[in-house]
């Protein structure tokens, strides 16, 4: 199973800045292995973010997002104590969901 994400959500006024690190290879499908064979693409394709369970953002990514992806976005109206959830799904169908409390 995939390693957990690191989600930091910091409120300033009525906005919350969310910083997410995801543990993923993000293999681009261009690289050759030692034997000269193309390493197949393996990357996060879909990302969803929620605020107290309600979807606030969906994203689609290609294989050119960097390994161990970093994502920053701003949620309006989220305040300290609220829950920010992040979910990703990769092209092999693996998924990972984690949650953080806004501080």
């Amino acid at each position: 199973m995939a390693d957990p994400m690191r989600i930091r959500a910091q409120a300033t006024g009525d906005k919350t800045t969310v910083r997410v690190l995801m543990a993923h290879e993000m293999e681009g499908g261009q690289r050759k292995d030692a034997a000269g064979k193309i390493v197949p693409a393996w990357f996060i394709q879909e990302v969803t973010a929620t605020h107290n369970g309600k979807t606030v953002l969906t994203a689609e990514w290609g294989p050119a997002v960097s390994k161990n992806p970093f994502l920053q976005f701003v949620v309006k109206g989220a305040k300290a104590g609220d829950k920010i959830g992040v979910n990703w799904k990769d092209n092999r169908g693996d998924t990972r969901s984690d949650e953080a409390t806004v501080s």
Binding site: E46, E60, K67, F73
Partner: protein
């Protein structure tokens, strides 16, 4: 967007069944617009998304380094202060596939996203805002990719 995504998901269920025969593995991805992510140019990617020709706009901003010491990790921030934004996109013109990331807006998030992308060579990097009224606005910045260390 929602209805389009729903439609794609339904297709994916069928495709998923087909995919078990490994005949059409490329259809197994739900909600992922493969055509757009395979496109080789800004224009083709926008066409695959059903969007029109883009116009350069001062209201869209892109933040990226002038020179990236390593093309594996290039920090890129895209934003606009405009309202009525449907999606924000990051594109790297000279990558094998141009479209890199696509963020679908709701009223609950700012149209401002930071991510990190891979670049195979020096290229223009685009921030593109697809508006609810169909307008497509962009800003671009050239990022030079160089080699930092011994280089093996």
């Amino acid at each position: 967007m929602q209805s389009r995504r729903q439609a794609l998901k339904k297709t994916a269920v069928v495709a998923g069944l087909l995919a078990t025969t490994s005949l059409f593995p490329q259809f197994a991805f739900a909600a992922f617009n493969k055509d757009a992510f395979d496109a080789k140019s800004v224009a083709d990617a926008l066409k695959a998304l059903g969007a029109g020709a883009p116009t350069e706009s001062k209201d869209v901003s892109i933040t990226a380094p002038d020179i990236a010491e390593n093309g594996s990790v290039v920090p890129v921030a895209v934003a606009t202060t405009l309202t009525g934004v449907k999606s924000m996109l990051i594109m790297v013109e000279k990558n094998p596939a141009t479209l890199t990331a696509m963020f679908h807006m709701t009223d609950s998030v700012d149209a401002a996203f930071s991510a990190r992308v891979k670049m195979g060579q020096s290229s223009d990097v685009y921030a593109i805002a697809i508006m609810n009224d169909g307008k497509v606005l962009f800003a671009k910045k050239e990022v030079k990719v160089t080699l930092g260390g011994c280089g093996g």
